[in-house]
Amino acid sequence: MAIEVRIPTILRTYTDGQKAVDAAGDTLAGLIDDLESNHPGLKDRLIEGEDLRRFVNVYINDEDVRFIGGLEAPLADGDQVVVLPAVAGGARDRMPTGR
């Protein structure tokens, strides 16, 4: 058993074009470290400093992880993780920070 991670188009350069990869971890942070070991460079696209990037959404079993513990959100075998970049923008020249 493993955890399936769905990878968005823009990050498939790190997964040889695969739409989904398997990874392991007890928490989201652990899962991302495991992803990084097999797909170097991916972690930096997901994490900035100590937190998830503001405009990257990660879901565990359809729940936005920001509501279930962020990087500390617990994971178990069989869970499904989906990574989706935010669809956002606008006339404002400076990106908002925080949420």
């Binding site: 669809v87 956002a88 923008g89 606008g90």
Partner: protein, 147 residues
Amino acid sequence: MLTIDQATYDAIVAHAKRDHPDEACGVVAGPEGSDRPERFVAMVNAAGSPTFYEFDSTELLQLYKEMDARDEEPVVIYHSHTATEAYPSRTDIGLAMEPNAHYVLVSTREHGNNEGPVEFRSYRIIDGEVTEEDVTVVTQADTRSTD
């Protein structure tokens, strides 16, 4: 070049006018790899702002699951600028994360919620590089293959 049917074009413009002075946003999905924008999906601007838009994260997931189930991708990602020209801002460029999409911008700065022409322009935004492209509006029959 973006080829889009008149009904979808009109739906994007109507959404932009309706939500003015806030920015409106949405996608037009189409079969993966087809480059045909076929299924108009208006999205809520979770930012509710005249200068920023963001799809609600839960609705974003639902949208992508639905597209996945139908073997679709976002062929067009549209939003409006309500006080400035229909050209990607630095924010638009920095946050453009769909390399296969046509980024459509509509400006409602001239007529707001009222009747009247709008600027409707389309761009590719890849790795921070913006390339404007022509927009061709066709009757619906022309955009579909005959299969």
